[in-house]
């Protein structure tokens, strides 16, 4: 991400309230993850120590410090979804995508990316769609009443094919 874009984002946050999270979120929304360079740049620009930005980025589950796949699949593991079988959905997706939990990233967040870089899989805490449990989100699209049977169909919308 170039310095100009970051400058423009920083420019939007004149009010100190919410500035740090706001800037990091906007960068991630464009870039999908927070690179070390971006963090260093922001740190200098807004005069907040790098160590603080780094601890913020690792504390909040929203932030990714590593590059992610082309499509991000988030499985809700909130209570309503748990009661309706979210664990089986997650397990199924791990198998369908050929990735397992052991490979999770260094900052210990559950975030797996397929070897071809097409998909990242993670667990989320409630999208507020609990009435449609179980729920998964692919990129910005929410899918309600998900079943193990219709997972392949959803994945195919994003170019997945069974190996």
């Amino acid at each position: 991400m170039d310095a100009k874009t970051i400058d423009e984002i920083i420019e939007k946050y004149k009010n100190p309230s919410g500035m740090v999270l706001g800037i990091l979120e906007e960068i991630q929304n464009i870039n999908k993850y927070l690179s070390k360079d971006a963090l260093i740049y922001v740190s200098k620009k807004i005069n907040v120590p790098f160590s603080q930005l780094y601890s913020v980025a690792t504390f909040y589950s929203f932030f990714n410090l590593n590059p992610v796949g082309e499509h991000i699949i988030s499985v809700c593991t909130g209570t309503a979804c748990h009661v309706k079988g979210a664990a089986e959905i997650l397990k199924s997706l791990e198998y369908l995508l050929g990735i397992t939990k052991e490979e999770s990233t260094e900052d210990s967040k559950f975030f797996l990316t397929t070897h071809d870089g097409c998909f990242s899989l993670n667990a989320a805490r409630c999208f507020g769609c609990c009435s449609m449990a179980p729920v998964i989100k692919v990129d910005d699209k929410m899918y309600g009443y998900v079943t193990i049977q219709n997972l392949p169909k959803i994945l195919k919308e994003y170019g997945w094919s069974k190996k």
């Binding site: 100190p16 929203f62 397990k91 449609m132 193990i148």
Partner: protein, 639 residues
């Protein structure tokens, strides 16, 4: 245009009413909250748009509305013909659109997906007669789902267009703001809120008027008000719906609160998982500013107040007020010790008043109808209504707003299950990870702060998750601990280490590896963590464990003594087998098994190799003939 007089407001109200209840146009509104969108509401909207264009229907208005609360019946579409009642259609798909438009063109109105009609609606800050007609369609309040409800917070949800400030003004919006600015002193406002008896809806139930008084008393050049829209409780989503369906009621409440406490800046702290609510708030704030209801010289007075939206980043603990403040300041969200309370030393060290979304939503009503009116709703100690999200193993999932003091039974069985499913429900979980599991034999408990506390649970933000016999209570306790451990900020040893230890014991129980002594240790730990943790997260994290131990001890016993999980949930205590006589040999299960544990020839019964199977349950789910069985037999121990 800036509004400065009552006349200006009335003019806009007339304009708004023409959109909301047009007398010369058809209005179609599609439920466009996240719940509706995720089951195809957006496709329905898009299809309407295309077809209306194709058919050149000029005399037809298409708009978005929020969610009326009956999420299980989404997508919902409201049809409003001039002079006639609003007809609400349910489970609408893009395929229905042509037919609906045809009927409208032919003026036959025999909508086959008609669900109920609305002739009169009490917006609380006003009443509107929408129209008459449609003898064969039931009235909205004849539907069991709505009958016991009382809509105060959800007064406009699902009816008005949340993206149109004129419609909010049309139903009496911003009149309370006008009233306080033109004719009330801050003390009078606080007096009115105190009189109402309103208690915070974010969980702890602290009297709102008192909190405002504390903030007002403080002397400072700058003061803040914050709307806590973090809604981290999994399974609770009422705040999301309130924000998406009626953002102006929250904004109006905040402006009134700011005026009463002397605040100059407002912050809405909202979780990043709610992008649509963020978008709607931003628009609403802009629109309010254009009308001079927010910003400088509000309604022509000397009162200045602005609101900004700040997004959270996925940390449950940030719902706790001191952690929330740290988060707004750009730090990691760690709670700190109180006092000092936020009212004394809050955001950037200044006096700060924090209230929940729903607390703010009640404020305009209290001003409009008076504290006395409000205090007569609900019970004496817990006045008013509360919105609950009813989810899990229940037929009618959705949002129900009832007066406090309504029994669990009324909500779950009457509203939620409508008579079906009866007897199958085992428990409800209220209050999320800080709450407890309440067994069916206590369903006559009235829901309010005190009664729920008496049975070991809390109201929390209002999530009610219904559980049936397929839910294992030990697993449920473990699930919530998992959640709390993940979300703990790690500051206190008791919360950080204690919960982990409790989790290990529960894990052993679910694996059939624990003893009764372990259960005693678990109980002791739970009590210790409860009293020694700093913030509400650690203080309440034991509740799911303690309540399940208290009400569902038998299940713990089954796991420990007989190594059996009644609900057949705990992986280590179940087996998948194929019933030889019932298997058709269709091979589907073998194809889908991720570890090739299933063998068999096409057309012949299949068999599962137990030592290979990882118990993922996929075969159980994919077998169309129910030939795969999930068993949990007693292993060891006496029967």
């Amino acid at each position: 245009m800036k509004i400065t007089s009552l006349e200006d407001l009335e003019n806009i109200a007339r304009k708004g009413l023409k959109k909301l209840n047009p007398d010369n146009k058809v209005r179609i509104s599609v439920g466009f909250a996240t719940c509706g969108i995720s089951v195809g509401g957006d496709d329905v909207f898009k299809t309407f748009k295309e077809k209306i264009y194709e058919r050149k229907l000029n005399n037809l208005e298409l708009c978005k509305t929020g969610c009326i609360g009956f999420c299980g019946e989404e997508p919902l579409v409201n049809i409003k013909m001039p002079g006639k009642s609003i007809v609400v259609l349910h489970r609408v798909t893009p395929n229905d659109v042509d037919d609906i438009l045809q009927k409208i063109e032919n003026e036959t109105y025999e909508f086959h997906k008609a669900f109920f009609k609305i002739d009169d609606w009490d917006h609380v800050t006003s009443k509107i007669h929408y129209g008459d007609g449609y003898e064969n369609i039931p009235k909205w309040n004849e539907i069991k789902f709505f009958k016991p409800t009382k809509r105060v917070v959800l007064r406009n949800s699902g009816i008005i267009n949340p993206e149109d400030i004129d419609e909010y003004i049309a139903v009496g919006g911003y009149r309370s703001l006008y009233k306080v600015i033109k004719s009330m002193t801050p003390d009078e406002i606080i007096e009115e809120v105190k009189k109402s008896g309103l208690r915070g809806r974010g969980g702890a139930g602290f009297p709102t008027g008192l909190k405002w008084e504390f903030a007002k008393k403080e002397q400072s050049d700058v003061k803040y008000v914050i709307c806590n829209a973090d809604e981290g409780d999994p399974g609770a989503y009422m705040n999301r719906n309130e924000m998406e369906s009626d953002p102006h009621m929250i904004i109006e409440g905040m402006i009134i609160g700011a005026y009463a406490t002397g605040a100059t800046e407002g912050i809405i702290y909202i979780r990043a998982e709610y992008p649509l609510a963020v978008e709607r708030f931003k628009k609403a704030i802009n629109d309010a500013k254009k009308y001079g209801l927010l910003g400088e010289k509000i309604l022509g007075s000397n009162f200045n107040f602005d609101i900004i939206v700040t997004e959270g980043a996925g940390a449950f603990v940030c719902g706790e007020e001191t952690a929330l403040i740290a988060s707004v300041e750009g730090e990691i969200g760690r709670p700190r010790l109180k006092p000092p309370y936020p009212a004394q030393k809050g955001l950037w060290g200044k006096p700060t008043n924090i209230n929940n979304v729903e607390t703010w939503s009640n404020v305009p009503v209290i001003i409009a109808k008076g504290g006395d009116w409000f205090s007569k709703l609900g019970t004496q100690k817990s006045p008013g209504t509360k919105v609950f999200s009813l989810v899990g193993k229940v037929k009618n999932v959705g949002l129900v707003e009832v007066e406090l003091g309504t029994t669990i039974d009324r909500i779950v069985n009457y509203i939620g299950n409508d008579g079906v499913n009866n007897g199958k429900i085992k428990a409800v979980q209220t209050g999320g990870p800080s709450g407890g599991c309440i067994p069916e034999n206590l369903f006559n408990t009235p829901i309010d702060y005190e009664h729920l506390a008496a049975v070991g649970s809390i109201m929390g933000s209002g999530g009610i998750v219904v559980m049936d016999d397929d839910t294992c209570m030990v697993d449920t306790a473990k699930y919530f601990l998992d959640f709390s451990i993940d979300e703990s900020c790690g500051k206190c040893v008791s919360c950080r280490e204690g919960l982990k230890h409790m989790h290990d014991i529960l894990d052993d129980i679910t694996k059939g590896k624990a003893t009764f002594e372990d259960i005693d240790t678990l109980k002791e730990l739970a009590q210790t963590v409860k009293v020694t943790s700093l913030c509400g997260l650690g203080k309440t994290a034991s509740n799911p464990v303690l309540t399940t131990l208290k009400y569902f001890y038998k299940e713990y016993e089954e796991h420990v003594k007989h190594k059996r999980c009644f609900a057949r949930v705990c992986k280590d205590l179940i087996r998948y087998v194929i019933a030889k006589d019932e298997c058709t040999g269709c091979t589907i299960c073998a194809k889908r098994c991720p570890v090739n544990a299933i063998n068999g020839e096409k057309g012949k019964p299949h068999i599962i190799s137990q030592n290979v199977c990882v118990k993922c349950g996929i075969c159980y789910d994919v077998c169309k003939f129910n030939s795969v069985k999930k068993l949990s037999e007693a292993i060891g121990g006496e029967k």
